[in-house]
């Protein structure tokens, strides 16, 4: 492998890892702070992608569709938290798994009823609809570069939010000691609703912004959800920093796994997870 190709493969890993981070950061927040195992997280990714398709068709503008899609999914997240998730905070994880698995089925069925079972595609916005040449044979989609930058921006925004705002401080406190936060008189139910809505919004945003690249199809949340859980396990439950590092590691493992051990590439990510668990059972960045 020559050095140019090597750097392009690094770029590929980075790009994949960042999209993964966008979905998994929401999952790790919900899991770490609220103690909720949210299997339906992938459904919000799916919902975002289908909204991108549907709204772009209705409105005509992809940018407006993204904004509207985020608003819609955040509201859906808030309503779900109020009506359903809230009743499961004090229950065993088994119940949470059952109810959020149920939500997957409900979301898929609703998608099937309203939008059908067909595969759809979202056009890349005209401004970004070209590729730049990297080598004489290979080009890189400008939209793909744009999403990468956007993911970096979201990662920085999340970092600032968590490290330098009052809400972020409460979130960090909630992740490390919930009872203490409650006894200090912080409105934990409001915090939970915000965190859940934020998690849902992040997953949906990933779906929205990725829709022109990924195409839109039934059950598209499944694979994303599995990888998000792997990210959370490797990074440490509740740690956004951990999710960031884990996502990039998975991006590298998956890309270079395909190059060096092509017939067993499907395993590399899980081998990585097993290795991390043996070394640090609590994940890379769990603040225990």
């Amino acid at each position: 492998m020559d050095i140019t190709i090597f750097f392009i493969q690094l770029l590929n890993s980075l790009q994949y890892g960042l999209v993964l981070f966008l979905v998994a950061s929401g999952l790790t927040l919900i899991f770490g702070i609220m103690g909720i195992i949210n299997l339906a997280h992938g459904s919000f990714y799916m919902l975002g992608a289908w909204l991108a398709w549907w709204l772009t068709g209705k409105i005509g503008s992809f940018a407006v569709a993204i904004a509207a899609g985020i608003v819609i999914t955040v509201v859906v997240g808030m309503v779900l938290e109020r009506l359903i998730i809230r009743r499961f905070y004090n229950r065993d994880h088994l119940y949470q798994v059952l109810v959020t698995y149920g939500l997957i089925l409900v979301f898929e069925e609703l998608r099937s009823v309203f939008w059908g079972n067909d595969v759809q595609s979202v056009k890349v916005p005209a401004v970004f609809d070209y590729s730049i040449a990297l080598t004489e044979q290979l080009s890189y989609s400008v939209y793909r570069l744009f999403t990468t930058l956007f993911c970096v921006a979201v990662a920085i925004a999340l970092y600032l939010l968590i490290k330098h705002t009052k809400l972020g401080m409460t979130i960090r406190a909630g992740a490390s000691n919930r009872q203490m936060v409650q006894s200090l008189g912080i409105n934990i139910s409001f915090l939970y609703m915000m965190v859940f809505a934020m998690g849902v919004g992040l997953a949906a945003f990933a779906g929205l912004i990725n829709a022109p690249i990924s195409s839109v199809y039934p059950n598209m949340g499944g694979q994303v959800m599995i990888m998000s859980f792997v990210v959370v396990v490797i990074g440490g439950i509740g740690s956004v920093k951990g999710a960031f590092v884990a996502s990039l590691l998975i991006g590298l493992a998956e890309t270079f796994g395909q190059l060096f051990i092509p017939t067993m590439a499907g395993m590399t990510v899980y081998v990585l997870m097993a290795a991390v668990l043996l070394w640090r059972p609590q994940g890379l960045f769990q603040q225990a």
């Binding site: 067909d118 595969v119 595609s121």
Partner: protein, 399 residues
């Protein structure tokens, strides 16, 4: 999270729930049984939900179109349908297929798409004498090592639809040939069929590349392709994944490398592309623009009935019905005469929208395969790639 209460599962509640579930579930067979009289019972075990739902739907539509065209009767007998959603879930397959065979006592079983589910069906069906038709699932073994007198394929095998490609590529003068696909069973069968055809035509595979199933992150392999610079790429990603594959391939600037594949690469997804798949060649037993009278009538009828364009799956569904009808007519509607029914189907010449076909000794269609090219949103026929191609049926004891 240690403060969470952990309520134990209440035994009484569990029993009550189970009883209620059993009661609701138990009501249904009574209803279906009450309706039946002397009608022929057709069991449709196909996916109605999930990724393959549209494929299952097309098979049922095709089958019912043939029934309607015959006034709802085959050999003077009415037909009654029993539908099961197999969910493309192999672990539920034995229960589902037993329900159709044991409880509903179907006279014909039709299914399915997912090869894992079909494998489970095969295990159950081979221990009975219920005729079974496989319209979509392509795995070679059902009419190979697992062939049986009551097992029929109305679609085609992976071997059949990949084998002709080798000669096409060699004839076109391509030397550096790369195969790229998901790494799972069907894809490995695809590659084996393609390689056999390629080597028989005197060509050689330069390299096979794999993407882990079911990942749709193609960037790493696209970069690899660009560094290999092959003369031609043979790719296979079915369904929704293909849309993304074509888009990524185009965005990576690789469209100056021609792409070939078996027909599943471009089947049922072209409406979701915007010209990224233009010019891709595929091999399949059905195509747009075949221009035979049977196909024209079939498509017009399908459009009228369902307001949809017929595809390969609707054709294999339609042919399943045609084959069953041929068998029934041979025994004058006497479904109890299983031997006569099977002999009737074995002797049938099916006038299909895809062209005429007959069954091989292993009960797999001997049929023409077409070279097709993506033009707009259609898979237009270019020419016949292989005339009356029979699957070698490796391992079948009936051959």
């Amino acid at each position: 999270m240690n403060d969470h209460k952990k309520p134990t599962l209440n035994r009484r509640g569990f029993l009550a729930g189970t009883a209620a579930f059993a009661a609701v579930g138990g009501l249904m067979p009574v209803q279906t049984l009450a309706q039946s009289s002397e009608k022929l019972r057709i069991g449709m075990m196909l996916p109605a939900t999930g990724t393959f739902a549209t494929l299952g739907d097309a098979v049922i539509r095709g089958f019912k179109q043939c029934v309607d065209e015959n006034g709802g009767k085959f050999a003077g007998r009415e037909l009654e349908f029993f539908h099961v959603d197999d969910e493309s879930n192999p672990s539920k397959a034995p229960e589902n297929v037993n329900r159709l065979i044991q409880r509903d006592k179907v006279d014909l079983l039709v299914g399915t798409v997912h090869s894992g589910v079909a494998l489970a069906m095969s295990r159950v069906v081979r221990a009975t004498d219920t005729p079974w038709m496989i319209p979509v699932s392509m795995s070679n073994e059902f009419t190979g090592a697992l062939c049986a007198p009551n097992v029929f394929r109305t679609g085609f095998t992976t071997w059949q639809t990949n084998y002709p490609m080798g000669k096409i590529l060699v004839d076109a003068g391509y030397k550096k040939i790369v195969h790229l696909s998901w790494n799972y069973l069907t894809a490995q069968e695809n590659l084996a069929g393609f390689k056999a055809g390629l080597e028989a035509a005197g060509g050689k595979l330069f390299k096979d590349l794999w993407v882990p199933f079911p990942s749709v992150e193609f960037q790493a392999m696209l970069t690899e392709l660009a560094s290999i610079k092959p003369d031609v790429v043979v790719a296979w990603f079915p369904g929704a994944s293909a849309v993304k594959w074509f888009k990524d391939y185009a965005a990576a600037g690789l469209r100056n490398i021609p792409m070939y594949g078996n027909g599943h690469l471009t089947e049922g997804i072209l409406h979701a592309t915007n010209g990224e798949a233009e010019g891709v060649h595929t091999v399949f037993p059905y195509a747009d623009g075949l221009d035979n009278p049977k196909d024209k009538a079939f498509r017009a009828g399908y459009m009228k009935r369902y307001n949809a364009v017929a595809d390969t799956n609707s054709v294999t569904g339609y042919d399943s019905a045609q084959l069953f009808k041929a068998g029934l007519e041979a025994v004058k509607g006497d479904i109890k005469n299983k031997k006569g029914l099977i002999a009737g189907m074995e002797a049938a010449r099916i006038d299909s929208p895809r062209g005429q076909w007959t069954l091989s000794k292993a009960h797999n269609p001997i049929q023409d395969f077409y070279l097709r090219k993506v033009v707009g949103k259609e898979n237009r026929v270019v020419r016949v790639a292989a005339k009356a191609l029979a699957d070698p049926a490796t391992g079948c004891k009936m051959v």
